[in-house]
């Protein structure tokens, strides 16, 4: 079977550049976007992928053709672009990044006037416009202009982050910090933030935005070997690993151990709920540790389908003060911006270490312990329904949540299986109180998949 590596859908357009994601396709999508948001400023930025420059010009072409003005902000983390869209009251924004996907991929992330991911109504409208191909066209006297503003967005972003961090005390502590920027869009900003703003003694690797990704783009325990080594070698207090567009954050403790993303989110949720009244929203695949922490603070947890846009939509609806996607290293703190933001995460965790005087491993040890296992496998069309049904039959005692694939809640554990929004694969995750139980559950899931 020929592998089709393009996905045009409600979460945008993503694919392997060249054969699948062409400049013509990116331009058409931008025309649909420009038609939808109407004439006015659209912010356009990108990560460091080699295809980013090409696609940004294709997108600008589409936007200008519909009468939008383009504000080029250059290479910027996705959250930085979102803050800038929000702060400058632009019509919308586009970040050209395939986030944690490999180098050969690229994608468009779309933001509305508030710098938020398009919600599901907006995404549906946009997709209809794209397929109808009836775009607004500007004549010579209505064609938009191009402006360049690479310097303001990082300043605006960090200004918002430091409002929630005790910068004076963190600076005084002079943390020794290791950083792996994956040569991504945040490379330069992260160095500036950690070294100049937060006064850390910084040991940084892969912070050259002109170079290709030196490791797999997704920051995971199995991809952060160099960062772990760096932490151990330099005796750092903490290590931060970013993805190419700076929305995801992985953290390595002082012993060189990569913390579970769910535990990182739990630490931040705990810190925020301690100081701010309000509820929590996370996706269905996020650990139950969040429920335990919210319960301890007397707060509710709202669950949503996987995807930043879904979590943000729910956060707005319930006025949550903190949220995120533990499963993929995303912390969403609305006081900075409704988006996953590694900078907010870095600031919060350093602030927490400073306030408590605890090491990262000590902080993590305070979180309730769960065992988690997850995996993915190639999507076979037509098999999804059968699998879900079999899953349901395998766990007859469970309670079913069908908002995103199938999540089965058991007495002491849960199992979640869903189709990826961005790639042609199925993902599963299981969680239990004990490692043995988690292994047993994963074994059952894998047996089902193996048929």
């Amino acid at each position: 079977m020929r592998e089709h590596r393009l996905k045009v859908g409600v979460s945008g357009i993503r694919g392997v550049v060249g054969e699948f994601l062409t400049p013509a396709l990116a331009c058409s999508y931008a025309q649909a976007f420009g038609t939808f948001v109407g004439p006015g400023k659209v912010v356009l930025g990108r990560d460091t992928r080699s295809s980013g420059e090409m696609l940004q010009h294709a997108v600008a072409c589409g936007l200008l053709a519909t009468g939008c003005d383009v504000v080029y902000v250059g290479i910027q983390p996705t959250p930085t672009i979102q803050v800038y869209v929000n702060a400058t009251r632009a019509r919308g924004g586009i970040s050209i990044t395939a986030s944690h996907n490999p180098s050969e991929y690229n994608a468009l992330k779309l933001f509305n006037h508030a710098g938020l991911f398009f919600n599901h109504y907006e995404r549906r409208e946009l997709l209809d416009l794209f397929y109808e191909s009836e775009f607004r066209t500007a004549t010579n006297d209505r064609i938009g202009r191009v402006a360049y503003d690479p310097d303001t967005p990082p300043r605006m972003h960090l200004d918002r982050v430091v409002r929630h961090v005790d910068v004076g005390r963190v600076r005084a502590h002079k943390f020794k910090v290791a950083l792996d920027g994956v040569n991504g869009a945040g490379s330069e900003l992260s160095v500036h933030f950690l070294r100049d703003v937060l006064g850390c003694r910084l040991e940084a690797i892969s912070v050259d935005p002109t170079q290709p990704f030196p490791r797999e783009a997704e920051p995971r325990p199995d991809t952060l070997g160099d960062l772990q080594e760096l932490v151990r070698r330099t005796g750092a207090d903490i290590g931060f690993g970013q993805d190419p567009d700076g929305d995801r954050l992985a953290i390595v403790d002082e012993n060189g151990v990569v913390l579970d993303n769910d535990d990182v989110l739990a630490l931040v949720v705990d810190a925020v709920l301690t100081s701010m009244p309000g509820d929590v929203a996370v996706n269905l695949t996020t650990s139950s540790v969040i429920d335990d922490i919210a319960l301890a603070h007397g707060r509710r947890v709202y669950r949503t389908p996987v995807g930043e846009a879904n979590v943000v939509e729910m956060m707005q609806a319930v006025k949550a003060v903190i949220g995120g996607e533990g499963s993929n290293g995303g912390i969403i703190f609305p006081s900075v911006q409704y988006c996953r933001d590694s900078y907010t995460g870095m600031g919060f965790v350093l602030d927490l270490m400073e306030r408590t005087g605890l090491t990262l491993s000590q902080l993590a040890a305070r979180m309730p312990a769960y065992s988690r296992r997850s995996g993915k496998f190639a999507f076979e069309h037509g098999r999804l329904g059968t699998l879900m049904r079999q899953l349901e039959v395998t766990f007859p005692e469970g309670q079913c949540d069908r908002r995103d694939g199938l999540k089965i809640l058991l007495e002491d554990a849960w199992v979640h299986m869903r189709a990826s929004n961005t790639e042609p694969i199925l993902r599963y995750a299981v969680e239990a109180k004990s490692p043995d139980r988690a292994a047993e559950l994963e074994g059952k899931v894998r047996a089902l998949i193996a048929g």
């Binding site: 054969e19 090409m54 294709a58 072409c61 200008l64 004549t139 010579n140």
Partner: protein, 452 residues
């Protein structure tokens, strides 16, 4: 709203928004990137507002087909062509609609030698465009964008090698830039070489041009010609937006017929290389033959249109050719490796004045009077063959040339009836030494009218 999009051997042209859209630009530029051999591609644009949108699409398509892109910004077409040659680039694209109104835009394509594509090359490009089979590269093969800020100065260095610019300082010259790219070049010439140019309509403008950018005697007489005598100028020049063509006004404030630009340049260039060829089309004035004869040159006539001129140039060695051009003010010199260049044409006319120590009006007075009449009528394609046969039988006593419609010539008189390649019309051109050939012209027009 007028809808217009024209896709042909000379490239892509249309009214932005109603005819020419982003997808045409991306596809045509991707076809060009696929067509070219590997290597950088030089691009630039004229100041039309829509040029920014088109530039973005062109850059994306070229990068994605694996070419590095050298963006010269707002620049004349001849500077783009010069830069292609200087950088040994794979090719180039000029974004601009030249003499068309502001709402139009276009892509012009150039081969590695900096010249327009030959007919065969243009055909291949069109085939790739229509087949939509583009060589989009994997992420490792995508090109890189860069700027080249030295392009204008290096172009001027070459102009200064061909023309003695210091010798032209004594001339006071008024130039109507029509808000186009010539203003940028001329300001730099003034700065570097101290020439006495007075520029009008020199503001770079993307939407409202001071007047239509057409290159002909009528446009010259709008604003430029009336200024010459009050300012005590020696000559006036009018450029189209991308500066590849020029029209002229004399020291007496008269608009010079655009047909005279090529004879003037032949007059300047032929004495420097006697016996060479002058290449022009079948519709150009017969005065050219007379000027060529004075200097022992020979006129070679080819069908009308840029493609025929390009193909003709390729059949001769550059050393054989003195000058090539059309009766539209578009002229090429071998010194500039066959680029239509209005600025070079202007410098050649000033150099001629300097060399002869004569005023422009005095030089023109040495030419015998030829009167040319031009008309056009809507076309019914089915009737054209019968019309041509009828004309040929009626005027069979002259010398018949059927390479491009029908041209019949007599010792002091000729006419040319042909179908336009760009518009659905029949053109009638008729010239006579001395008085205008009114009767012949009207008879021809009537025959065309009754045929269609």
């Amino acid at each position: 709203m007028e809808r217009a999009l024209r896709i042909s051997h000379v490239g892509l042209r249309g009214i932005v928004g109603s005819g020419l859209g982003a997808s045409h630009v991306l596809d045509f530029a991707a076809a060009f990137g696929t067509f070219l051999a590997p290597g950088p591609v030089v691009i630039g644009r004229d100041p039309r507002a829509s040029g920014v949108m088109i530039r973005e699409g062109v850059i994306a398509a070229l990068l994605s087909t694996g070419h590095d892109v050298v963006d010269l910004g707002i620049v004349s077409t001849p500077v783009i062509q010069h830069t292609i040659q200087r950088l040994n680039a794979a090719g180039g694209i000029s974004i601009g609609a030249s003499h068309n109104p502001a709402e139009w835009n276009a892509l012009k394509f150039f081969a590695a030698r900096g010249t327009y594509l030959s007919t065969a090359e243009a055909g291949e490009l069109l085939d790739i465009y229509h087949l939509h089979n583009f060589a989009y590269q994997y992420y490792t093969g995508i090109g890189v964008l860069r700027k080249d800020t030295a392009a204008l100065d290096l172009y001027l260095d070459d102009l200064a090698r061909v023309f003695d610019l210091n010798a032209l300082r004594g001339y006071k010259v008024v130039v109507d830039c029509c808000n186009g790219t010539s203003a940028i070049i001329l300001r730099r010439i003034i700065e570097r070489f101290g020439l006495n140019f007075i520029l009008i309509n020199e503001r770079i403008e993307g939407v409202n041009f001071a007047h239509e950018p057409s290159i002909n005697a009528r446009t010259v007489s709008l604003q430029l010609a009336p200024l010459i005598q009050p300012l005590g100028a020696d000559a006036g020049f009018l450029f189209d937006i991308d500066s590849d063509r020029v029209a002229i006004a004399t020291d007496k404030g008269d608009a010079v017929n655009e047909e005279l630009v090529l004879p003037l340049l032949a007059d300047y260039l032929l004495p420097r290389c006697p016996g060479r060829l002058v290449i022009t089309n079948l519709s150009t004035t017969a005065l050219l033959d007379e000027v060529a004869e004075r200097h022992g040159g020979t006129v070679v006539r080819v069908p009308v249109g840029r493609q025929a001129a390009m193909d003709a140039l390729a059949t001769y060695h550059p050393d054989q050719i003195a000058v090539a051009g059309e009766g539209t003010g578009a002229v090429m010199m071998p010194q500039f490796r066959f680029i239509y260049d209005g600025i070079a044409s202007m410098l050649a006319v000033l150099s001629l004045m300097h060399q002869r120590r004569q005023k422009l009006s005095e030089i023109l007075a040495t030419y015998p009077c030829y009167s040319i009449l031009k008309g056009e009528l809507p076309l019914d394609p089915q009737r054209v063959p019968a019309l041509m046969m009828e004309l040929q039988s009626q005027y069979g006593d002259g010398i018949v040339d059927v390479r491009d419609g029908l041209r019949i010539s007599w010792p002091d008189r000729w006419f040319h009836v042909r179908v336009s390649q760009t518009e659905p019309i029949v053109r009638v051109i008729c010239e006579q030494k001395g008085d205008p050939p009114l009767v012949l012209f009207e008879t021809l027009m009537d025959m065309v009218r009754s045929a269609v």
